[in-house]
């Protein structure tokens, strides 16, 4: 049986952003059911737990379980729900599509989730570059107010809720949930030391739940069609539901695709419904399966790799934001690692010395290797710097993300690094050496 898209079902349709088409397609039925059908917040949380839904923002934490961490007694403090629409992980572009093309799907999920965690005011923290998506979301929120899905006493249920769109201003680290919280408070987006976790002490000193755009969209469907239906989609009970995958790099058909959790990577890259194989018939050299922070995989490793949380953990990588970046055989792996290192060096928030000093150092060493000025000891040096940045030396896991491309590329393509150092040029040909980005 062919998989029917769930999250992308309405994407690309005429006026898919408008509330009338959304309602005509069964939109806000889930909200109505929850608010007027006798569902308690606890029952909604239980249903989401039962669905097996795991967060789509990167860490894959079970959503219902996270919600249940909000203390029963909040000591008079309000609870906040923050939609993480910061989408900045290189290779990731699914949330942009969800927001630009079907904003009500997310808003409905956000209202339901807010009800489940007893939140009166929620925010959409959207990256500053998403000017268009922010306008689409704001227009959709305005419509939802007009139709009585937001505001006071929604659908006569006694539940009231307001959503505010809050625009970021260019900083990758604000995607990290405590960086996001700091940023929303009007500060530099520098992550906090945990514990306390946001569910206990988050934004404005109050219990806070942070959920990704796609996670909230999934909540809409869990409540519309039931946890059992959701849990049946996917590879096993730990990896459930429909999933969006972002495909970019040297493939014939890059784009956002929806598939059941656990689709084999091979089918994804080569299947007719997805990537349709490598551009110009080149061979795969390496695949980054979960955005810039995920360790690279070799062509061999993708042979038998399900695209889900546990499938990628088994390969010592991660699903992350499900950004699959494909590099062909002509790609210089050192050059790719240098590009990723430049990103992390630019985006470190600067709080922790190993990260602040380590990320530009990695970039400098990779740069000189790529430019043919590498020294024999540089490969060991990269590993040494990386190891000093890893494993809890820092406030957030950004530093661990920053070393992932370096260590995985050295581990899997050491010959290419050696060739660079010994011959002062690329193994894949001198062309890539001249290719520089400032």
């Amino acid at each position: 049986m062919k998989f029917e898209p769930v999250l992308l079902a309405r994407v690309g349709r005429d006026r898919s952003q408008a509330i009338d088409t959304y309602v005509a397609d069964g939109g806000y039925e889930a909200l109505r059911k929850v608010l007027t059908g006798g569902w308690t917040p606890e029952a909604v949380t239980e249903e989401v737990k039962k669905s097996g839904l795991r967060g789509r923002g990167g860490a894959g934490f079970p959503t219902g379980v996270k919600w249940s961490f909000v203390p029963k007694d909040t000591k008079g403090k309000p609870v906040y729900l923050l939609c993480n629409a910061d989408e900045s992980e290189p290779g990731t572009f699914k949330d942009r599509l969800l927001m630009e093309d079907d904003p009500h799907q997310m808003i409905e999920g956000q209202i339901i989730s807010a009800y489940a965690v007893k939140c009166r005011n929620s925010y959409v923290y959207i990256r500053g570059e998403f000017f268009h998506a922010a306008r689409v979301i704001q227009r959709a929120i305005d419509e939802a107010y007009q139709e009585g899905f937001l505001g006071e006493n929604i659908l006569g249920s006694g539940f009231s809720h307001d959503i505010t769109v809050h625009r970021g201003a260019g900083a990758y680290i604000c995607g990290e949930e405590t960086g996001l919280i700091e940023s929303l408070e009007g500060k530099r987006g520098q992550p906090r030391i945990k514990p306390p976790f946001p569910a206990v002490v988050g934004v404005f000193g109050a219990p806070t739940i942070v959920n990704n755009v796609e996670t909230l969209c999934c909540v809409t469907h869990v409540m519309k069609r039931g946890a059992d239906w959701f849990a049946k989609i996917g590879r096993n009970e730990k990896n459930t539901g429909p999933k969006l995958y972002c495909l970019s790099g040297h493939v014939n058909r890059p784009g956002v695709y929806e598939a059941p959790m656990g689709l084999p990577m091979k089918d994804f890259l080569f299947g007719d419904d997805y990537g349709r194989g490598m551009k110009d018939g080149r061979k795969v050299k390496a695949v980054i399966p979960g955005g810039a922070s995920a360790p690279m995989l070799t062509a061999e490793e993708i042979e038998d790799c399900p695209l889900d949380f546990d499938g990628l953990i088994a390969k010592k990588s991660m699903l992350g934001s499900a950004a699959i970046i494909v590099m062909n055989e002509d790609t210089c792996i050192v050059d790719a690692a240098r590009n990723l290192a430049k990103f992390f060096s630019h985006e470190s928030c600067g709080q922790c010395t190993p990260c602040r000093e380590g990320t530009p150092w990695l970039h400098r060493v990779l740069d000189r290797i790529e430019e043919g000025e590498g020294r024999a000891e540089d490969i060991d040096l990269l590993e040494k710097i990386s190891n000093q940045m890893a494993n809890g030396m820092t406030i957030c896991v950004f530093a661990d993300a920053a070393i992932a491309p370096v260590l995985s590329s050295i581990g899997k393509f050491r010959d290419e690094y050696r060739h660079h150092v010994e011959h002062k040029q690329c193994l894949v040909g001198p062309r890539a050496v001249v290719e520089t980005t400032a």
Partner: protein, 169 residues
């Protein structure tokens, strides 16, 4: 982190928001439990009003939100999208992160450099174009991706860029 470039204009002169901007700020404040939380949105209003955020504009924001000016400066310089000096009419933002890099973003940037005779961070003498490099802007399937002011132009290539530069007023 962004660089600490911060252009100083005529010090001491107070910048006042026009009435439309003040109205927008009035609507922003009640959405947050603290005044400080309105800082990013109010800085956006400042940038949309003046095109960039001068020291005086930042001081005015600090005054309105009852924040120490140093806090506002610290926040301003942390985020890359606030312009700390005037930029050209068209801010050309080239993504050079991994997927765009694999699709030739580097060559595209070089092409633009030559075309405009400026470097990254530079502005053409007629004040028309400013050219900057940005990290992934979530257009990786249409690489290389770029933005001009608040709109996407993707996928981009040298010929399309030439046409675009010609077309922009």
């Amino acid at each position: 982190m962004t660089s600490l470039r911060y252009a100083v204009t005529s010090a001491g002169r107070r910048m006042e928001f026009p009435p439309e901007a003040l109205e927008r700020i009035e609507k922003i404040l009640p959405r947050y439990p603290t005044k400080q939380a309105a800082l990013l949105p109010v800085l956006w209003v400042a940038q949309e009003t003046w095109g960039w955020i001068s020291k005086e504009a930042a001081e005015e924001v600090a005054r309105i939100l009852e924040l120490p000016p140093a806090h506002v400066t610290g926040v301003l310089t942390f985020y890359t999208m606030y312009n700390l000096e005037p930029v050209g009419r068209h801010l050309l933002q080239f993504c050079t992160s991994i997927s765009c890099h694999l699709a030739g973003a580097g060559q595209l940037v070089d092409h633009c450099r030559k075309r405009l005779g400026i470097d990254l961070g530079g502005t053409t003498p007629d004040g028309k174009f400013t050219m900057v490099e940005v990290e992934c802007i979530a257009g990786c399937d249409r690489a290389p991706s770029m933005m001009v002011n608040d709109g996407y132009h993707e996928p981009m290539d040298a010929a399309k860029l030439d046409a675009l530069l010609k077309r922009l007023p």
